[in-house]
Amino acid sequence: MRLLLFSSPAGRIFFISLYRFSLRIAGFILMLFVTSLGLLAITFLVSRMSPVDPVLVLVGDNVTGEVYRRAYYELGLDKSLLTQFSLYCLKILRGDFGISILTGHPVIDDLRRVFPATIELATLGILIGVLVGVPLGVLAALRENSPFDQGVRFFCLFGYSLPIFWLGPIALSVFYADLGWVSGPGRIDVVYYGTVPSVTGFILFDSALASRWDVFRDGLRHLILPGFFLGYFSFAYISRMTRFLILRELSRGYVLTARIRGFSDFRIIRYHVFRNALPFLVPVIALSYAHLLEGAVITETVFAWPGLGQYMSHALRNADMNAVLGGVIVVGLVFICLNLFSDFLKKLLNSHLH
């Protein structure tokens, strides 16, 4: 058996492909490392470029030259830029983003508090995007150039062009103020504050764990409008890509073969075309999720959703540099991971195909 694994042609091909795969993985990790380092370099330079003197932030305005100089040395500002940068990276690795001026807490604690809200929102958005986008994309591909296809395409272009900071407030005033179908800005109503213990940080999970279904329903009513908007954006991208992928599969030879063999259309689509296109959808969804996390900054500001985005835009308006850069690093790292992962997967699938 072992002999066969090493000496047979199939065994050799197996090892060669294993070798190639590990090379790819190594390349992926290297890219991840370099890109993250680039992000840190940018945030480091930005924090150095800012017109605020870091020493004065620490010691205050009216100090003697002696105190100023000591703080200057203790901050390591006399060392070379490269040394300062490596010290900065080590600090970030330890999770030390400094203290937020606005809240007075360490930035990392603030981020840990607000991040689940953003994840909750983005996850609902991607769920809507996938559940609506994939079926519509498949249908549009099957009825290529029909009025239905044109309709879906226009609906997508509409989504690509929509400024959420324009339609969001309008939707709030219609569905919340006039019709009362959904709840207003924020995550839950004020009366429910502190009624469920925070276990996971996700309101829906926490209220379900505590069996407080009234809180659950209230959370859902708050979530639905911003979630719908984020879902619309990811829907636009996902359905377009699904249509493209299905059309590409339909043009392959095996579809014709299956038709000749007399398989039903449904069977061909469901068991052959869709199954072959499915892996290619994974990088699309990963990329879409990354963009949702980034796009949440504006959505959260519009709907006063107490997540990372609102935290960052609030900090920006109050010149709270540590908080802004902390948020930039966290969102940036997640974005970079998802983006590179998506790229890696896409290349892997394409090379597998050839």
Binding site: I42, S47, M49, L157, S161, P163, W166, L167, E294, R317
Partner: protein, 307 residues
């Protein structure tokens, strides 16, 4: 009598199968392309939307009936609903919203023009060079584009705006840094697809230098996918400028900018809907125009995957 025959003559001249000059052949190609685009209704709507806003941006000074910076009496003219004197009403500083919306098209289109010209030039040069030279240079340049491509655009703009202070410059830098690799990738793949064709070999035999071949034989061939992509990116740039303005860190008041105007309008109750709704609608029409046009161009110039 003269006019139709002139145009029919021109049409025949355009569509001539044996053009007498290079110029005629080029115009003929453009004319055929235009005819195909005309058949696509959505693309034409997009084209005219973009043209409309370009016209307004250029002639905003002549078209606006009031000053876009100075308001009228704060006691009597604040937050007036749309009327015959103020077509789109007035804002909280008693300024005419119609004039401000017209002038608000300028920063958006300026950003589009600047970013696209920088990004397309850089991307084309890097991509075609990488594809043409190949080898380790290619590998290095492509890894570099991968790195820049995986940066988050909006978040990067936020970081730069936090460091450099609010304003157009940071937005332009953030957009340029993250958009050029897209064009480099497109240009490289186009270059690789034609690099081993006979006409390139002929150009070599003719004694053309590398710079000549890149400029004359390679870059023009990469243009059509680049144009398609650039048109859709224009809508992205418009939305980003507006979004950063909405967050209060883009173009600073009192300069008119659509996103900033929407953010100002949020301070008033929803009864004063025109303060936010009208600049937002303007932003939407311009970005929809670019998207429709891009989609139509994509259909004409050859379909491809949207990154």
């Amino acid at each position: 009598m003269f006019l139709p025959s002139f145009f029919f003559g021109l049409r025949a001249w355009f569509l001539s199968n044996s053009p007498h000059s290079r110029f005629q052949a080029k115009l003929g190609r453009l004319y055929r392309f235009w005819r195909v685009l005309c058949a696509n209704r959505m693309a034409m709507i997009g084209f005219f939307l973009v043209l409309f806003w370009l016209f307004i941006a250029i002639f905003a000074d002549f078209l606006s009936p009031h000053s876009y910076l100075e308001g009228e009496s704060l006691q009597s003219a604040r937050l007036q609903p749309p009327s015959f004197t103020h077509w789109f009403g007035t804002d909280g500083h008693a300024r005419d919203i119609y004039s401000r919306v017209l002038h608000g098209s300028r920063p958006s289109l300026f950003a589009v023009f600047m970013v696209i010209s920088i990004v397309v030039t850089t991307g084309l040069l890097v991509g075609v060079f990488a594809g043409y030279v190949g080898g380790l240079t290619d590998l290095f340049l492509m890894r570099l584009t991968d790195i820049f491509l995986s940066f988050p655009r909006f978040i990067l703009a936020l970081a730069l705006l936090a460091g450099l202070g609010p304003g157009m410059m940071s937005i332009l830098i953030a957009l340029a840094l993250t958009l050029w690799p897209v064009y480099a990738r497109i240009a490289r793949s186009e270059t690789l697809s034609v690099l081993h064709m006979d006409y390139i070999a002929a150009a070599h035999l003719r004694g053309g230098s590398s710079a000549q071949i890149i400029r004359i034989d390679l870059i023009p061939l990469c243009l059509s996918p680049v144009i398609v992509r650039a048109t859709t990116d224009m809508s992205l740039i418009i939305l980003m400028v507006g979004g950063l303005g909405f967050l209060g860190i883009g173009v600073q008041p009192p300069s008119p900018e659509w996103g900033t105007m929407i953010a100002e309008g949020r301070n008033y109750p929803t009864e004063y809907w025109w303060v936010t709704a009208i600049p937002g609608f303007a932003l939407f029409t311009l970005s929809l125009g670019f998207n429709l046009l891009g989609d139509g161009l994509c259909a004409v110039l050859g379909p491809q995957e949207r990154v």
